[in-house]
């Protein structure tokens, strides 16, 4: 590529701000590559603006449509795009709720009663039905204090259900104890 070709290329980069000099015009007339480039540039200048005239019938129809159409406020850009992060956040929350181990129903591991006895050893006997027994566990009711009275009055409502629960515990202990005794021997 000679100097004139380079100059012509530089001119083309600035076109159409700068007029084509006589020297470069003469060069373009004699250089095939530069002539092709110039023809393309001229075609862009003359051809791209052409062919966009609105014919009267189309114009009338379009004008009617424009004036009959209601004004339309453009959607706020932030709102338009806010659905994407919101949807992603919702999907993450949903995934956590569905797959996180905390949300799964916890099934307590159960051990066979004999193995439990091996681990725990013999359980102390607490006879909840007879508070007069010397080894009976002290209860809040045996304490004599204003706070103890208050607690006793409050716990009185739970006396029935608690007795049922303690009875169940007794039954479990009775099942476990003989095996624990066997294990000691």
């Amino acid at each position: 590529m000679n100097t004139l070709c380079e100059q012509f290329s530089e001119w083309l980069d600035d076109v159409p701000e700068q007029p084509l000099s006589d020297a470069l015009a003469a060069h373009a007339a004699s250089c095939e590559a530069c002539r092709r480039q110039l023809a393309l540039e001229r075609s862009m200048q003359s051809g791209l603006p052409a062919g966009a005239s609105l014919d009267p019938s189309r114009r009338a129809a379009l004008r009617g449509r424009i004036l009959a159409a209601p004004a339309k406020r453009p959607a706020f850009r932030l709102l338009r795009w806010s659905w994407a992060p919101l949807a992603a956040a919702a999907a993450i929350v949903l995934a956590v709720l569905v797959f996180h181990p905390f949300t799964k129903s916890a099934v307590a591991p159960t051990l066979p009663s004999d193995l439990l006895a091996d681990i725990l050893g013999p359980l102390p006997y607490i006879d909840s039905s007879d508070p007069a027994k010397p080894d009976a566990a002290p209860t809040a009711a045996t304490e004599s204090s204003p706070m103890g009275d208050l607690l006793s009055a409050f716990l009185g409502d739970f006396e029935g259900p608690m007795k049922v629960a303690l009875g169940t515990l007794d039954a479990s202990r009775a099942a476990v104890e003989p095996r624990a005794a066997d294990a000691k021997q």
Binding site: G47, P49, K72
Partner: protein, 197 residues
Amino acid sequence: MTAAVAWETVKRAAGGDSAAKQSLVETTLDNLWGLAMRMTRRPDDADDIVQETYARAFATLSGLQPNGRFEGYLARIATNLVLERWRRKQPKADVPDDTVAPHALEPWQTVADLEDEQRRLAAIWKAVSRLAPEPRAAILLYYAQSQSCDEIGRILDVPLGTVKTWLHRARNQVRHDAEALLASEPAAGRMNIGDAP
């Protein structure tokens, strides 16, 4: 060349004056449709863009500050609508033949010259349609709408330097691609008008 829109007319249109609205449309419709048509290359698409542009412009008239040209505001809305379309779908590489306007034969031109010009123009449009949306809009605003780089910057909401970079690259790309397209097609046989059988 249409007359510039007076801001007084815009103000009246914003206040609900339907005659002022009609006046705005009358004054700006041809230029705006020309812009939309050059960008979309399809008359029906140009109609849609123009209608949407006016609908949006009329909805925001009351908040419009009277600086710059109202036509520039319309061009900005229309260009952004076209850009949205281009971003949504890949630009079509094919250009309808009927949208490449035929030129009148100049006294010194031959039929072959005219055919060459048509082929060149079709190749240019094809190359333009392959550009990325923003440079494509920039080159069309520059060549087809004769907008200055400053005005293009305002329409596309980018700095002047960005406009110049886009234009520089787009021009080189279009020339390169168009030349490659022309080289891949067989040249039209040259025939002078006087040689017609």
